[in-house]
Symmetry: C2
Subunit: 467 residues, 2 copies
């Protein structure tokens, strides 16, 4: 496919796609399990006008059904095309003629397939859109959801999001990964948007990042992608996000030679090969995670953390074993864990039993898990010490945590994040969702993910310092 460079789409250019007033669904159906049936059901929360389109029905789901796009009483903002591949090209042409703002194409069998014809068919779709300014999402995608707008234009069932916690705008080239990640909502992670683009013949992940950067409905952007036709647009989008004070946390797929080859067969994407994006991420201030399971915890941390005020990290725990694990993880990621000064140590000494350790890591002993005041006093002393920019508390056991409000208040008062390292293998156990719901507490189910995030947070702080 030839590379035709353009600027990244800005939020106002994407509003007919992502904040439509009118939505049409081609291939709307009531056949159980059909793509058009599932998509129609997902659209039930849409607050604007919805037009089902299917020549075989007069009415669907209580709504008047239209025979074709041409028959719609107005030009639709966004058209979702849930029909087999063979019918797609003609429908896209019809949408362009009717003045649609955007189309979303689910069908597969384009640039991700072997053969010149498949790639040419994808280019043909894009050219129709380009000629009239109609946005195209896909082909080979599962759709989009913009929760604050009530939009769920996808055949995939995205889980409803909790109302509290850092609101993560999720951008995923892969629909399946977007779907799998979005299921974090079911254990308490707040996910405001799920934006997928599959083969990205027109709208790509950089455009979505640009949209979310200026959208007040999310606090941070989590990005999963294989590659970009023009990586310069991601740099542009990152600049928009930086200007808006919003962080981007990215997981780049296809970062190995074999993985890169696999990506060509997935979405027809050239991935720039191993390590190609590392320099771009650094330059653009994009946080990067290697392990996708760390993506959402890391994104929520960056939504909650103020800028780092000091490179040192304090660790306090009710268990010596978890304190050691945290110290090891800090060392693996080059995060300093300095010893407290004498004043801080004196405060710790009176807060914990004699058999605890008034050091860093501070083993407050199991007493701290039973006596919230002991842990609160330790946390207060460590957060007040200017050599510490953050506090990490490895938490051994899934249980309701009475002291979360106290910790959240301390984090806010000291202007420093408090990270709870969830050590229990009851991964969605009691207490976890409550941590996520607090504005100044970050939850990490891996201490390595926690200190990797802190290490990059420090890196950002250094990069932002005036020269």
């Amino acid at each position: 496919m030839s590379i035709i460079s353009r600027r990244v789409y800005r939020r106002h250019e994407l509003r007919r796609l992502l904040e439509p007033q009118t939505l049409a669904l081609i291939g709307a159906s009531q056949t159980p399990g059909a793509l058009g049936t599932r998509t129609l059901a997902n659209m039930s929360t849409f607050p604007g006008i919805l037009y089902p389109v299917n020549a075989r029905h007069v009415q669907l789901g209580g709504r008047l059904c239209y025979a074709s796009v041409a028959d719609l009483p107005e030009a639709p903002d966004c058209v979702v095309i849930a029909v087999p591949r063979d019918a797609v090209l003609r429908i896209v042409q019809d949408c362009a003629s009717r003045g649609a703002g955007a189309v979303i194409i689910f069908a597969s069998g384009y640039a991700e397939t072997e053969g010149a014809q498949a790639a040419a068919d994808q280019t043909a779709l894009r050219d129709i859109g380009r000629a009239c300014g109609m946005l195209i999402v896909g082909p080979n995608c599962v759709g989009v959801a913009n929760r604050p707008h009530g939009l769920h234009a996808a055949f995939a069932e995205f889980s409803p999001s909790p109302a509290v916690g850092a609101r993560i705008g999720l951008v995923s080239q892969s629909g399946a990964l977007g779907l799998g990640l979005s299921q974090a909502a079911e254990h308490g992670t707040a996910i405001s948007h799920i934006l997928t683009c599959g083969n990205s013949c027109d709208v790509d992940v950089a455009d979505y990042v640009s949209f979310l950067a200026d959208d007040p409905g999310c606090d941070v952007i989590a990005l999963v992608f294989e590659g970009l036709e023009d990586s310069g647009r991601l740099v542009e989008a990152a600049a928009i996000a930086r200007a808006a004070g919003k962080r981007i946390v990215a997981c780049k797929l296809g970062d190995s030679t074999a993985g890169s080859a696999a990506a060509r067969f997935h979405t027809g994407t050239a991935t720039d090969g191993p390590g190609g994006y590392a320099a771009l991420f650094r330059a653009a201030g994009i946080i990067s995670v290697t392990r996708i399971e760390a993506l959402l915890d890391t994104a929520a941390f960056f939504a909650k953390a103020p800028p780092a005020s000091a490179p040192g990290v304090a660790i306090v725990s009710g268990s010596g074993g978890t304190a050691i694990l945290a110290t090891d993880a800090a060392a693996r990621h080059g995060v300093p864990v300095p010893q407290p000064g004498e004043a801080t140590a004196a405060l710790l000494r009176v807060a914990i039993p004699a058999f605890g350790s008034p050091r860093n890591p501070c083993d407050a002993t199991a007493q701290a898990t039973r006596d919230p005041d002991s842990l609160r006093r330790c946390a207060d002393a460590l957060l007040a010490d200017p050599q510490y920019g953050a506090l990490v508390i490895p938490w051994g056991r899934a249980q309701p945590l009475a002291l979360l409000t106290l910790l959240d208040e301390l984090a806010q008062r000291h202007g420093k994040p408090v990270c709870l390292g969830w050590m229990s293998q009851r991964l969605e156990g009691s207490g976890a969702a409550e941590v996520e719901a607090h504005a100044h507490l970050a939850l990490f189910r891996s201490l390595d993910a926690c200190f990797d995030a802190i290490s990059q947070w420090h890196g950002l702080a250094s990069a932002m310092k005036p020269a």
Copy 2:
């Protein structure tokens, strides 16, 4: 503390401790929340004779209560000491005099504390035991559980274990980590034993490994520890496990300089410093995980996997994105992902849609997730190919999995493990526990953990080959 070397305890030497017929609890109580109350409640499943000991009660929980160990009608096999530190030494002496087989000491304030007296007090406890052959667990520990035996001699509440799946015997020096890990039972991981030892003044993790190696009640041993007085005993225990055909998967704490220092203040343990155990693990055939969150998934894999028959791994997925992630993870861990031969590729081609990839990784497309027969045929073709020793299936979404029985049968028939990489962030979602329950399917919530395990599995296969 001086090092007095001894052989590792064998299973028959540890039976009065871990398979007692009679159990006494010093400090038994009915005060809500008290250590002795919680421990007594945990002992309710004990099938042998239980003697509560507390001079202030005549009867506790429907059982006759004794004033002291000396008053017991017989020499107890195992005595749990749930009293404050000051009373411990005298009681341990009484237990020795009464002919107890073993004591478990919860109290803290020994070698993990600064000062020579605390360390000397711990040595005094050990010396009492050594003089009469009475085993000592602790001090500074939370106790032990041996589920097949109905023993729960701990103040910590360990979650009940499901009845199916690979039975993991968990050995943890740290009580809090043992407790946190054991909570995996609540989402479907089968945990047969939880054996903690805290300061390990006598019985240590090597002894527990030796016990579990010869205990038919567990299939694999998961080990968490900071250090050992005599690491040679771990080598001995590993040899016993190898002879029994049982794998050990270890997570070593204190593997950084700062973490090692912290360990001295936790259980008074010298950890051998950074990297000190890597060579020992290799030599002893012990599998090692750096990230504790990978411990139990890895242990279950090794319980289920037959010896590796080939170094290549096949990947099949219903989603191209997850297939790429798996390929990247394989590359990070040096696991080869060779392309299928022509015969295998021909079988794949007819099993998947034209827009899928009949390669390795095999993108069977979303159709495979809706059509179990498509995925079954792919899996069968790949498992039959002699260049593949295992099959990895990244699974995108938490949902009931209709094809698990089919996959389990294929894995068994081909004598190769099938690993499901759980890509959903619904970490305990629908389908996960069902995977764990199957005898030939391994669940990994991290693709890195999956390929790290496979890489070490290959290493074991090479090491076991005749020269």
